[in-house]
């Protein structure tokens, strides 16, 4: 593994594989819906069957790419609870690590949309006094998300400091 993005301790804590499943479902369904509508319009108005075929092929390509992207994206997410700070890494091509000292966490959000809820996962976001800190972990199993929130809030309180 790239030493630049090596975990601070032993390993990165992965996010739930359900994030991958959810992303796959979303990309495939949306690609098919959009491609279906476009193909239907072309077929009904222009009746250029080659264009319908082209759109269909492109849609399949996008869906396949989305299928693979979902896996890589999910695998790229990881977090590590250090003794003093939380590290979050993400990104496949554009990689990033965000490290937030516990004492700097002002509040923690757990959000879960309807689809995420049905998969039993949630997104944990950390907020510091700097709005440019974008520390969020998607696809955390719901129970783990609550535990993480409580722990971070607790640590933020005990180590917390003014700005």
């Amino acid at each position: 593994m790239d030493p630049l993005f090596a975990p601070p301790a032993d390993t990165w804590h992965p996010v739930s594989p359900k994030l991958r499943t959810m992303h796959r479902l979303l990309t495939v369904v949306w690609t098919l819906v959009i491609a279906g509508v476009v193909m239907a319009i072309v077929a009904l108005t222009l009746q250029w069957w080659w264009l319908v075929g082209l759109v269909g092929a492109a849609a399949v390509a996008v869906a396949v790419w989305g299928w693979m992207w979902s896996a890589r994206n999910q695998a790229a997410w990881g977090y590590a609870e250090n003794a003093e700070d939380l590290w979050i890494r993400h990104g496949v091509a554009w990689r990033q690590i965000v490290a937030v000292p516990y004492g700097r966490v002002q509040y923690v959000d757990v959000t879960a949309g309807p689809l995420e809820r049905s998969y039993g996962i949630a997104k944990v976001s950390l907020h510091t006094a700097s709005s440019s800190t974008s520390a969020a972990i998607p696809g955390v199993p719901a129970g783990e998300a609550t535990r993480l929130r409580d722990r971070l809030t607790e640590l933020g309180k005990t180590r917390g400091s003014g700005i």
Binding site: W94, P101, T128, S161, I163
Partner: protein, 489 residues
Amino acid sequence: MAPGSDQPLPPPSPEPAAAVGQRTHPASALVRVWLWVAAGLFAFGRDLVEGGESRSLLSMLWIGLAIVGAAALLGVAFGYLSWRFTRYFIDGREIRIERGILTRSSRRAPYERIQAVDIAEPFAARIFRLCELRIELAGGDDSRVALQYLRQSEADRLRHLLLQRAYEAGSQAVRDAVPASVAGAGATDALGRAAAPSLGGADDGTAASTEAPITVPHLDLSPPILVVPPLRLVVATVVSAEFLAPALFLTALVVGGVVFPGVIVFGVVPLLLWAGQVIMSRVVAQWSFTLRRAPTGLHVTRGLLSRIAQTIPYDRVQAVVVRQAALWRPLHLERAEVTVAGGSNDSDESGSATLLPVATPDEVRMVLGELFTDVDHVRIPRVRAPRRSAVFAPVGWRFRSAGSDAHAFVTESGWIMHRTDVVPHAKTQSVVIKQGPLQRLRGVADIVVHTPDGPVAAHGYSLDAADVRALATAQLTLARQAREERGES
């Protein structure tokens, strides 16, 4: 505006009966009249534009006079009423300001919450030789109370009184900083000032008060530590891109208008406005910029038309950015801005304040040393961007670096507009490592240290990947140590 700082303070005079309260200066009624006159002129102008063609010149003049006169009368009447209904009360615990004709409002400033007392002179008030007393309070949303308007001597007296009361009431902020001001006249170094809050400032405070009677906590304005000469301000502005751009465009337009008389010189007005705006904000607003040590922060007074007084509180300053445009480099001039957290102070935009409009590198170092103990951004060892990062910035890569020592983290970047961002370790909010696909090919990465929102963006671009990782790891440790030292964690 400096009250004679070597005069002995008058003994705390007994206040007039607190129940009655005191009035501000009667001429306060007139200060805001210009707003009404301006509104009247505006109304008249709209009237002219909308349907003025049908009337004769004379009748228009009369109408204009009538509208503006009525507006002025209204303004005077309203100003008189609001002056009439404004009173301030000084009692044992607080200063209270009551105002409002129909809806009464009462603002309280308890002595123990007072952080700073500033005297500002808005232009309109200066005409009447009046000034405004601004009281900065610690905490809460309503962190400023203003008393409009007072005679200079009265404002000085009140300022003294309030600072003294704040000291007696044990306003932590004022008390902590007292030793520095007692030692006063420039003799204190940054250590003396900054050591007080962290190491039992209360002890120092009592020591100071036993040395001398209670009136002595010398809360007067200390002599300036820095004055920006107006000539330097003018020269620096003239050679700044912000001024040169509109000036060059203007010249081009005028030349074009002379050479080709047919060309409509359309852009002149907005360009003039642009240049004027630059002159207003860079020269007029910063005129005789003076920096002093005050109990709770660096005290700034500036302005040619409106004299602004503001305090940049030491404990709320998060980070500093020092900028140097390419044109300023041969002149050895720099500009410094600070990010101020939760600032309700006079900042241009939220969270930002000008620390130094124009200064030499040595002066910038000196003032930074005032703000943050032991921080000397020039001496901090840095790692430079490697040559292989030149693809991302063919010229600029030479100017990119990042580094840290025991006290602060610093990044540098920018070729045409060079910037140095300095973040004391204790103010680090989070640390980010970033790498795009091209950067990966080149073995470089970005490091960012986040601070609360403001002008500072400590972003180290395209540095060696191993350096970035080492810097980031070190930064987290250093930041933790710094927080622990301050007894925060």
